[in-house]
Every structure is written in structure tokens, then in C-alpha cells.
């Protein structure tokens, strides 16, 4: 394999690492922050399921990103992923709500503009509409589930200690599902742009053959898992602290709602089911894990009375919808210019 391939892939892997470091907190943050689940347990479960999600169900969202812009060279993909990674870093530094999904879309559009490739506006509209839909849907699901859980807890008359034990198990299972959904939905952000460039040949291991795309998903999954293992602890504690006012039951529902939303936007199986039933399908689009969780928490806060809503967080999210892709698009455009004219790389 050309060693240059790994250098070009590094930006995507870095993005994967950042995603693991940040977004694992959406799945396990409250559980770990409130000490319902140990960090080591959370990190191991999260890593395993994020890799599984990426490898098994990652193709759906990657196809959609591919339709938005088919980046044909590794150098072009490298800069697109790097632009997204830099945007995520800068936005995080400024304390703004950030989404790798929005950054990568901005980067792809930036590449399209530079390469004079047309941007499919139908796909773009579909993707952008999901950014709005994701937190709203998450909030609605959270409200319905939270009401159901509250009703159940009221009638089941479980002992406080037993409720706690069930919630621990529930948080672990919801976290595993959340990590799987995160891997499935967000792997496209990490390695999706490298797929058209086909950096890896098929690999035959005994009876099984791993396609180049599957190898990319696996590699991206490992990058996310390394992010989880090396850097997520502090972020989880912070998220746990910030959301500390919500109860473990609310945290459990927030994680479930988040996971359902990410899964809905990533599941080819669900898409096929809806198609079979003659119903409109849900676009398979990488959405923001952070915004799904915030949407769920806001939904539960609304249910408990509007006093709990943090409007500043909502404002940040809306600002992020515009600022993140624009920033990534600009960085990508100018980065491609340098890569092409200074380093003499073929970027499209």
C-alpha cells in the first residue's frame, strides 16, 4: 500500500478521533458524570459498539454524502476532512455547539465549488432539513418516552434502590445502542469522503473478503474508538456535570431518544420497510449526536416546565447550523487552492 494513502487518511482519522472524544459523551456522559456507570465500562462498551455500528450499518449515510459530492482524489478527500476537523476544533474552542456532520457537509460543498462540480441541491436541502428535524424529532421521542416511563414508575411502585439498579442496566443498554447508532450514522463523516477515491483494494481473510469500503469503515470505527478510549473521560465528566440537574431516568430517556434518532437516519433496514409499506422514507443522513441529545434534554425540560430550558444552548445550535458548514466550506476551498498550487497535488 502506498504510504501516502495513510498520510491522506490521517485527516479523516483525526476527525474520527475528535468524534470519539466528543460524542461518546452524548451516549454515556450523564451515566458516567452521575457515577451510575464507571468510565472504563462505558469506554469499552462504547468502543465495541461504535465499531460494530460503523462496520455493519455505516453504508447508508455514506451513500448520501457521496451523492452530495463524489470526491475523486485522495488529496481532495484529505483536505475536505481536514477542513471539517479544523472547523470542529475551532468551534469547540469558541464554546459553540459543533457537529462533525455539518462540518463535513460544508467541506464537501467547498470541494464542489473548487472543483466546479455541481452540488445536488435536492440532496443538500434534504441534509439541511434533517439538521432541524434531528433535535426536534429527538425532543418529541424523548417527551413520549419520558411520559411513558414516568407513568410506568408511578404504577410499578418499584423500590428506589431497584429503580436505580434497573436504570444502571438500562443506561448501559441504551449506551450500547447509542454507540452503535453513532457509529452507523457518523462513520460517513469520518471516512465517507474517502470512499470514491478507493484507497484500499479488497482484502481476503480466509473465507471472508473485506471490501475497500468496509476496511475504511473499520479503520474509521477504530479511530472513533481510540478517541473514546483516550480523551472522552474529561468530556463525559463535563457533560455529566453540565446536565447534572437531570435525573438518571431523564438521562436514560435522553440517550434512548438520541440513539433512536441517529438510528432512524442511518438504518437501511428501516428505509426498506418504509418503502415496502409504500410510506415516505427517511433520508439516510449523518446528523449531529450532540444536537440529538440536547433536543431530547430540552424536550424533557419542556415537559417539566419551561424554566429548565437553556435558550443560550439553543441559540448556539442554530448559530452552529450556519457557522459550521460555512467555516468548513471556506477552509476547504482555500486549503484545496494551496494543496493544488503550492504542493502540486491533484485535488479533483
Amino acid at each position: 500500500m502506498d504510504p501516502l494513502v495513510l498520510i491522506f487518511l490521517s485527516s479523516g482519522l483525526f476527525l474520527g478521533w475528535a468524534l470519539g472524544a466528543n460524542d461518546a459523551a452524548n451516549v454515556f456522559g450523564t451515566a458516567v458524570g452521575t457515577r451510575m456507570v464507571q468510565w472504563s465500562t462505558a469506554a469499552i462498551i462504547c468502543s465495541i459498539f461504535v465499531i460494530l455500528g460503523a462496520a455493519v450499518s455505516g453504508a447508508g449515510t455514506s451513500t448520501t454524502l457521496g451523492k452530495l459530492g463524489s470526491i475523486s482524489t485522495l488529496a481532495g478527500a484529505f483536505m475536505t476532512a481536514l477542513a471539517a476537523a479544523i472547523s470542529v476544533y475551532l468551534m469547540t474552542k469558541s464554546g459553540l455547539a459543533v457537529s462533525t456532520s455539518q462540518a463535513i457537509v460544508g467541506g464537501i460543498v467547498g470541494w464542489n465549488l473548487f472543483a466546479n462540480a455541481p452540488t445536488d441541491t435536492t440532496i443538500l436541502t434534504k441534509i439541511v432539513s434533517t439538521w432541524f428535524l434531528c433535535p426536534v424529532l429527538s425532543a418529541v421521542i424523548a417527551v413520549v418516552l419520558y411520559k411513558a416511563l414516568r407513568l410506568y414508575l408511578r404504577h410499578a411502585e418499584l423500590h428506589l434502590v431497584r429503580t436505580d439498579a434497573y436504570l444502571r442496566v438500562g443506561l448501559l443498554m441504551a449506551g450500547a445502542f447509542g454507540a452503535y447508532a453513532l457509529g452507523a450514522n457518523n462513520i460517513a463523516n469520518v471516512v465517507g469522503v474517502f470512499i470514491p477515491a478507493k484507497p484500499f483494494p479488497d482484502l481476503t481473510l480466509g473465507a471472508t473478503t473485506l471490501s475497500g469500503t468496509q476496511q475504511l469503515f473499520l479503520l474509521g470505527g477504530f479511530a472513533i474508538a481510540i478517541g473514546v478510549m483516550t480523551y472522552s473521560r474529561g468530556v463525559m465528566m463535563t457533560v455529566g456535570g453540565e446536565l447534572g440537574r437531570i435525573s438518571p431516568a431523564a438521562a436514560f430517556i435522553a440517550v434512548i431518544a438520541h440513539s433512536i434518532v441517529l438510528f432512524i437516519f442511518a438504518s437501511r433496514g428501516l428505509e426498506a420497510l418504509l418503502l415496502d409499506a409504500g410510506l415516505p422514507t427517511i433520508p439516510l443522513v449523518p446528523v449531529s449526536s450532540s444536537q440529538a441529545v440536547v433536543g431530547a434534554v430540552v424536550g424533557i425540560a419542556i415537559l417539566q416546565g419551561v424554566h429548565g430550558i437553556r435558550w443560550r444552548v439553543l441559540g448556539n445550535i442554530m448559530l452552529g447550523w450556519v457557522a459550521t458548514p460555512v467555516m468548513a466550506g471556506l477552509i476547504c476551498f482555500f486549503g484545496l487552492f494551496f494543496l493544488q498550487n503550492v504542493f502540486g497535488q491533484k485535488v479533483f
Binding site: E157, H159, L160, V161, R162, D164, V169
Partner: protein, 220 residues
Amino acid sequence: MSRMTKLRLFGRTKDLEGQIDEFLDKISEAAVMFRLGVRTYLKEGANGDFKSKLKAVNTLESEADNLRRNIEKELYTHTLIPDARGDVLGLVETLDHLLNLFEGTLWAIAIEKPQISDEFVSGFRKLTNMVVQAADALVLAARSFFRTPHMVGDHNHKVMIYEKEADKISTQLKMDIFDADIDLAHKAHLRNFVEQIDNVADWAEDVADRLAIYAIKRTV
């Protein structure tokens, strides 16, 4: 999660549930023994039957102490119910103090042997009944906190009513004592016992107030 871990997790949960229930049982039992002890003293003085009730309260108090320590240790060693742990700890400790009040009052009676003439017996009996009812209602409120937090308010309401009634009875009893034709030292001695018994209801009310906040936190 492995099958073994899951089983152990719920096994521990069951143990702790049992210990909390048993702790609350001890308080209920101690309240009954306290009531019987005071009644026996009022009827027959500090005789063998009174001493057996005192001994029973002593035993219940030390058993409850052990249970309290185990519950606290279990909660902190295994970081259980992290969001409500402080509240449960506070509840268990304040409830435990109720047992100290029962035990302390019976010991004081056993040591000081207050001379309660017939005219005050009925007042002391009524007062004891009322404070024990307040303690009983508090135990029900505490049980509710663990299983049906939305019901805590109903039981707490009864604690408040019994406490208010106990206050009325104790005030009347003290007035009767100080109107009586006995020497001042005797009056002060009896007043001390009225206050000591009434203190049980006052404490029950304080715990009920805390419990109301804990319950609100649980139902949100």
C-alpha cells in the same frame, strides 16, 4: 454485561431493599414498645414489665444502628442511587434519632422515676399516644418515599396533624402541672418529661419536612 454480574447486581439490590425495610420495621416496633413502656410505667411504675419494654427498645435501637451503618456502607461502597444517596443518608440518620429519643425517654423514666399522680396520668397517656401516632405516620411516609414518592405528602400531612395535637396536649398538661398543689421541683421534673415525650412528635415533624423535599426531588 455477563449473567453473573447482572444476578449479583440485583441480588445486592434485593439485600439493600430488605435492609431499608427492616430498618423502618425497627422504628415501628420501637414506637409500639415505647408506648407500652410509658403506659406500663403510668399504671404500675418501673416494674419488671416496664424494664422488659426498655430492654426491647434498647435492642431495637442497636439493631437499627447496625442496619443504618450497613445501609450507609452499601450505598457508598457500591455508589448506589448517586442522585438520591445524600437524601437517603439524611433520612436514615434522622429516623435513627427517633429511636434515640424513645430509648432516652424510657431510660430517663427508669433512672429518675418521676412521680406522676393520677390527675396527670390521662394527659401523659394521651400525649404518648399522639407522639407515637406521629412517629407511625412518619414511618409510613418514609416507606412511601422509597416506593410511592407521590404519596409522601398524604402521610406527612398526618404527621403535622398529630404533632399539632401533641403540642396542644403537652401545653395543657404543663398548665395543669403548674396549677397543681405540688412543689416547684416536682413541677419542673414533670414538665421535663412532658417536653421529652413531646420532643418525639417535634422531631417527627422536622423529619417529615425534610422528607417532603426529598420526595419532590424524586418525583421531578
